[in-house]
Amino acid sequence: MMAGAPILEAQGLTKRYGGLIANNDVRMTLAPGEIRGLIGPNGAGKTTFVNLLTGLETPDAGSVRLDGTDITGLLPHRIAAQGLVRTFQVSRVFANLTVRENLLVPFLAAGSPGGVREGQDRAAELLDLSTLTPLADELAGVLSGGQRMLLQACAGFMIPAVRVYVLDEPFAGINPVVKDTLIALIQGENVGKGRAFLIVSHEMEIVRRLCPLVTVMIQGRVAAEGTLDEVARRPEVIAAYLGRAAA
């Protein structure tokens, strides 16, 4: 199904917290330009998996390869610089900086030869796409939850090297207009620049629209992979979600 070498390859990722195994032998490959959904009930280990991919935590076992290069155990800023970027479920914008400055931080960190000027241009472009231009010189602290999520997503696109973008629950609790803006942004970057996405979400409608394939995690393991409709028919998936619903 997937032609060519994978852009992202996680092998046997395992992470324990005391007696709890948060991730158990998790494996996943992402093709260049793919938009993958990552779903699963709460506590399935999705965020841990994202943290292991992006270097916020170190796996007890397993490896992560980005475009063939081993990035396991690298510091988060190195992983970001190599093109594996993420957002957080609870948005971590820099509330004491302006919206525009928030975008410049990742751009300048990457040390692009174009310098501030190119960064300003790119920021202006993203502000337009995300409809945040009127707020560009406000402090990010004044933004609504949805606007913060948009800003956070845009900040990731400011890193010129982005090849894989992991979005952790980008659609949770934001209004439909902002949702559409964000979806358009993701699709634009995907089609225009060939960037791959891994989207952790509970919003099945959006996952169905955006992601040809989804990976299901249950209790720290990968339980299924396929189209959303395929995996939704799997008994263990149904059981996991029903179990969650029952609880």
């Binding site: 916020l56 988060p76 820099f94 509330a95 900086l97 400055e101 890193i159």
Partner: protein, 298 residues
């Protein structure tokens, strides 16, 4: 107690001038805290290092005319020492799994304080030194001031302005402001937060080193000369609020004024008490300091 308008003006000016230098010290402490989330208890020892470099540079190498160049060298010297020490001493607090980070940092910086003091005694002996100053007395309105003190205050103001420009206008300043808000997000933005820590630590101690260099002709150079000034710095942090840059500036000026006015018009033996009274008052009225916020971190 003698009172006159002239004396009041003189006392206010004198308080503000010393306040600017206190502010420099407090700014260093608060700035390091806002990035590295650690109080550097050895701040006074970097003041001390700055004063020794100033003495050596002025007395042996450059002569009193080049005091400003010596001050720049002192600042650069303490900056470099900070840049070298931070990765060894403070970084393990973040780069290794650790149960009690704050305790670690407290112990490490206090150990550093003792080490640096002993080193000063070992290298320079327990003596007092003073870099020569050929600046003549300057009259500010009705107030005569040591040229060196005026120069120190002016340079402190320049340093505060330079600090402001670096923080507001440069890329490293932007990254530092971002890191003050959220260490993790700045990392996932591709910024090497450990390098940023080292730079922040170095900038903070360089401010102390500069204060030490500027005050050396007045308060002299000896192994524990940083102790009093760093205590003032910590008082200001309580007054202005930990992690607040405007708090450090306003708090510094306020402390300078209160001490100077108290000593002149209430009773002079209790000069150090007025500052503490102010601290206690602030703790009662505004426990987080004038500009402090509860829970700055997201």
């Amino acid at each position: 107690m003698i009172f006159s308008t002239e004396l009041l003006i003189q006392t206010v000016i004198s308080g503000l001038m010393v306040g600017v230098l206190y502010a420099l010290m407090a700014l260093g402490i608060t700035f390091i805290y806002s990035i590295v989330k650690t109080i550097n208890w050895a701040m006074g020892e970097f003041y001390m290092i700055g004063s020794y470099i100033q003495f050596v540079a002025v007395h042996f190498l450059l002569g009193p005319r080049w005091w400003w160049l010596a001050a720049l060298i002192s600042m650069a010297g303490t900056f470099l020492i900070g840049l070298l020490l931070e990765p060894i001493l403070i970084k393990p607090m973040y780069s290794r799994p650790m149960q009690r980070r704050d305790d670690y940092a407290t112990v490490v910086t206090i150990a550093l304080l003792l080490l640096l003091r002993s080193l000063a005694v070992a290298l320079g002996g327990p003596y007092q030194y003073r870099p020569e100053s050929d600046l003549s007395v300057i009259w500010i309105g009705p107030l005569p001031q040591e040229g060196a003190r005026v120069a120190a205050s002016v340079c402190a103001l320049l340093a505060l302005a330079a600090f402001w420009i670096v923080i507001k206008k440069t890329w490293i300043g932007l990254a530092l402001r971002a890191a003050a808000q959220n260490r993790i997000a700045v990392q996932t933005s591709g910024v090497d937060v450990y390098r940023l820590d080292a730079v922040a630590f170095a900038i903070g101690v360089a401010l102390a080193g500069l204060a030490g260099a500027l005050l050396a002709p007045l308060f002299m150079v000896f192994p524990t000369n940083g102790a009093v000034t760093s205590v003032k710095g910590f008082e200001i942090i309580v007054i202005g609020g930990l992690g607040s840059i405007p708090g450090a500036l306003i708090g510094g000026l306020l402390l300078g004024l209160v001490e100077s006015l108290g000593a002149a018009f209430i009773s002079s033996p209790y000069q150090n008490v007025y500052g503490f009274l102010l601290v206690i008052l602030i703790l009662i009225v505004k426990p987080n300091g004038l500009f402090g916020e509860r829970g700055r971190e997201a």
